[in-house]
């Protein structure tokens, strides 16, 4: 049953307003695939009411530990930021499809935007453990140096790593797409994997389409149920209609998404 209790073992404010939570949750640690998420209940009352989805940053089946990275943006994440070790969370998960690992040995590029780095750390970790390790280049973009949260964890799992900041406080100056486009030209990878804000994903998808590189994106959307029942987390599909981020995703082949109809939120 994709449901468990997770005990908060360790909470670290990695950069201001970003908390790395280490949870004791053997069930999820065992079953989790990179790109999947957990749907966390915060408190037992009505404020907040709904669960909140968080990507799995790392899962250690041996120790039973699961890590998530939480950026405080509102009520629920604000409450998490006050939680002490020992707090128990009721969670559903692992949920969603996750990224399918490549066959092995190929060239891949990972593109992370801000907090979107979380599931890509898990994905990169998995690639490293493959028998025929792919060659992993990664691009990590954020507003500024601070927002390059957990970049060392990410960089350590990749063969090449490029940071990009909008204000130039670290790495290149600009957007991830400014780096991605020449990178694809320089050396064409077999796959691109991306996670970040919708606007970034749309741009990455376009660049990959133009370059003819298959691209897999992990999307975010407001969720009701998290299990595919409410159709609340819909995003527009290029085949018409909508697909559900929680059950059909959060990872999609970028060509499945109708980026034109996608509202920027």
């Amino acid at each position: 049953m994709p449901r468990a209790t997770a005990i908060l073992r360790h909470r670290e404010e990695v950069v201001s307003g970003h908390y790395l939570l280490t949870l004791d949750c053997p069930e999820v640690a065992k079953a989790a695939q990179p790109g999947q998420f957990v749907h966390l209940r915060i408190g037992d009352g009505t404020d907040p009411l709904l669960r909140r989805p968080f990507s799995i940053l790392l899962a250690q089946p041996e120790t039973g530990e699961v890590q998530i990275l939480v950026r405080t943006v509102g009520r629920g994440t604000g409450i998490i930021a006050t939680h002490d070790e020992g707090v128990a969370y009721d969670l559903l998960g692992p949920l969603g499809n996750g990224w399918e690992a490549p066959a092995g040995g190929e060239d891949v590029v990972l593109v992370a935007g801000g907090i979107g780095v979380a599931p890509l750390i898990f994905f990169a970790d998995g690639l490293r453990l493959m028998e025929r390790q792919p060659y992993v280049r990664s691009i990590f973009g954020a507003a500024n140096q601070e927002a390059l949260v957990c970049w060392t964890e990410f960089a350590a799992r990749c063969d090449e790593f490029t940071a990009v900041t909008e204000d130039g406080s670290a790495g290149e100056t600009g957007l991830v797409t400014d780096v991605l486009a020449p990178e694809l030209e320089r050396d064409r990878p077999q796959h691109v994997y991306a996670c970040g804000p919708d606007g970034m994903l749309a741009a990455v998808a376009r660049i990959c389409r133009d370059a003819g590189v298959p691209c897999y994106v992990s999307m975010e959307q407001w969720m009701g149920c998290g299990v595919g029942a409410c159709l609340g987390c819909a995003v527009p599909a290029s085949a018409g209609g909508y697909v559900r981020v929680c059950a059909d995703g959060p990872v999609f082949d970028a060509t499945e998404i109708d980026w034109e109809r996608m509202k920027r939120r």
Partner: protein, 309 residues
């Protein structure tokens, strides 16, 4: 007398339910999504997501947004249409052995009647007529807030099917008892209430509505006092069994609706918060009956002593 094994069964519109607790339409998909989280065979009934004649794409995203003790949704009746529902979704619902109530929605009286006909098949135990979805900006809205339309629609559906017909009422009306009576007179076998309250919320940083559809339906604990009041009013206005819903999170909440006059209770938003919510409600009702020596849950329907308030 000590009640150790209370009788939780209820009769609604000729259906025998092992207990009063069922899913609220649209919050429980087609049942199977929640199979990993609870034993569906223990439910009183399963009420499906709205089915329409033709497939519907639904509304643009974002479609849901949390509000204080509640949520707004504007799904827009996304569903694969009646044919696909019958072929692909209905069979899977049979294996739980509990009554299946299909929620239907349409744009015209004819569409509703046609749907009722199509769905009058084995495996469907009753129809819930959604005359009140606030997210469909066509005629759908008009039905639920107008008593003539409600009457005409109910009559047409009743004529088109031999299944029990449950009319689902909108709370976005001045006097819900008038609509309830119109549905009763037109032949409804039961009523369910409340659907969502029409609401809206705004992202003040971007000065945009949170929902792609601008407005949406408010559900969850926030609306429970409105649901209790309307169930209380309707129970005194009609002779039909009622299925109550609106903000039920636990057994105490369900009992509020029952005491106000609901024979059955549907759980909606709570499923998102706690996938096993319906089990907890059923267990909690049983525990309450034992604690209060209530032999039959049916004895509590409408049992609030308002005259002694």
């Amino acid at each position: 007398m000590t009640v150790t094994c209370p009788d939780l069964s209820v009769e609604i519109a000729g259906l025998h339910l092992q207990n009063p607790v069922m899913s609220a339409s649209g919050t429980f998909g087609y049942g199977v999504e929640y199979e990993p989280y609870l034993d569906l065979s223990q439910l009183g009934a399963i009420v499906t997501k709205a089915v329409t004649l033709e497939p519907r794409e639904g509304n643009p995203q974002p479609r849901v947004r949390e509000t204080p003790a509640g949520m707004l949704n504007a799904i827009g009746l996304q569903n694969p249409g009646a044919e696909v529902f019958i072929d692909d979704k209905l069979p899977a619902l049979q294996r739980f052995g509990v009554p299946v109530i299909v929620n239907i929605s349409g744009r015209s009286v004819e569409e509703f009647a046609r749907l009722a006909e199509m769905l009058s098949i084995d495996g469907v135990d009753a129809l819930e007529v959604n005359i009140s979805c606030p997210n469909v900006q066509e005629e759908g809205m008009t039905f639920g807030v107008d008593c003539d339309m409600t009457g005409r629609l109910t009559e047409a559906v009743c004529a088109a099917t031999d299944l029990p017909v449950i009319v689902k009422l909108s709370p976005n009306v001045t006097d819900i008892t008038v609509i309830a009576r119109a549905a009763e007179q037109a032949g409804a076998d039961a009523l369910s209430l409340i659907n969502t309250l029409l609401g809206m919320s705004i992202d003040v940083e971007r000065r945009l509505p949170h929902l792609g559809n601008v407005t949406g339906g408010l559900s969850g604990p926030a609306v429970r006092p409105v649901a209790v009041r309307m169930i209380y009013e309707v129970a005194r206005a009609v002779d039909l069994p009622l299925i109550g819903m609106g903000g039920v999170m636990n057994a105490g909440d369900a009992l509020e609706l029952i005491l106000a006059g609901a024979t059955g209770v549907a759980v909606g938003t709570a499923n998102f918060v706690e996938p096993a919510a319906m089990h907890q409600v059923i267990d909690g009702i049983a525990a309450y009956c034992r604690r209060h020596d209530v032999a039959r849950i049916a004895d509590l329907v409408g049992a609030v002593a308002a005259d002694q308030a």
